[in-house]
Amino acid sequence: MNIEIITSDLLEVATLVIMGITGLAIARIRNLFAVVMLSGIYSLMGATLYVILDAVDVAFTEAAVGAGASTVLMIGTLALTSDRELATPNARTVKGIFVCTLIFAALVYGSFDMPLYGDPLAPVHQHVAPRYLGESMGEIGLPNVVTSVLASYRGYDTMGETFVIFTAAVGVITLIGRARRKKSGKDGGSGS
């Protein structure tokens, strides 16, 4: 077993542990500004993990969009609302931990049927992917297989994705757009 593989495995587990600590901090801290910053760190650690796991395209999308854009959106929301969270009642904490423990147990039980991490004989690697890796150079002519699949083999997926973003943008604009704000400002003024 070669040393590079062992190092990358150790790095992977270490990164996951750091993500776990960040996640627990997010759950505990009640200052929402700190929570938003920690969620940015969580995303960035995720991006680091994707590099270790060979998913470089996913890593830079996560770093730019996941860690960058959503953190900016959240800070914008904090500016319009408040940055303190009220304490969670103990009964709710206990209930939440109970439900999560049950689901965790079910997931671990299910994972015993999964192939081990990094196994090249896992079913997921036997179908479709070998064809992309083998034929995409001849059919599309790009060395980056992820780009070939994204833009060509699964181009409709990507088109659907743009529709989703468009719909979300329309939703955001209708919710907090300028016309809406003017109208609600007038209503709020006369109502209260």
């Binding site: 969620s39 060979d54 965790f104 989703v164 939703g171 919710l175």
Partner: protein, 121 residues
Amino acid sequence: MIEYAFPGLLNYWIVFLLMMIGLYIVIAHENLIKKIVGLNVFQVSVFVFYISMAKIKGGTAPILADGIEVYSNPLPHVLILTAIVVGVATTALGLALVVRIQESFGTIEDDEVREKEEQDK
């Protein structure tokens, strides 16, 4: 088979723990911004789960080059690329709703919003 003993299933279990931290934040906390952050934590954990299934030991990033034999599976990467962008779109929509709720109710704590709704009836 001994080569795959570490981390074996251990990294999947840590990822399940991460998912549960996200789920816990969503169901136990009343603050709506905190709920959305929890949703993000859950989301990133699911992405990590997917990407770790695509990894092949000793493989490299799926960018074709001479002299490289083993590539990790590119298909989950493509699916997650789409999911990340859609995730940010839903986050933006959720945050817009939070801003509207703050405007209408003056609070972003779920229980207080519900109380005020009861009073209005």
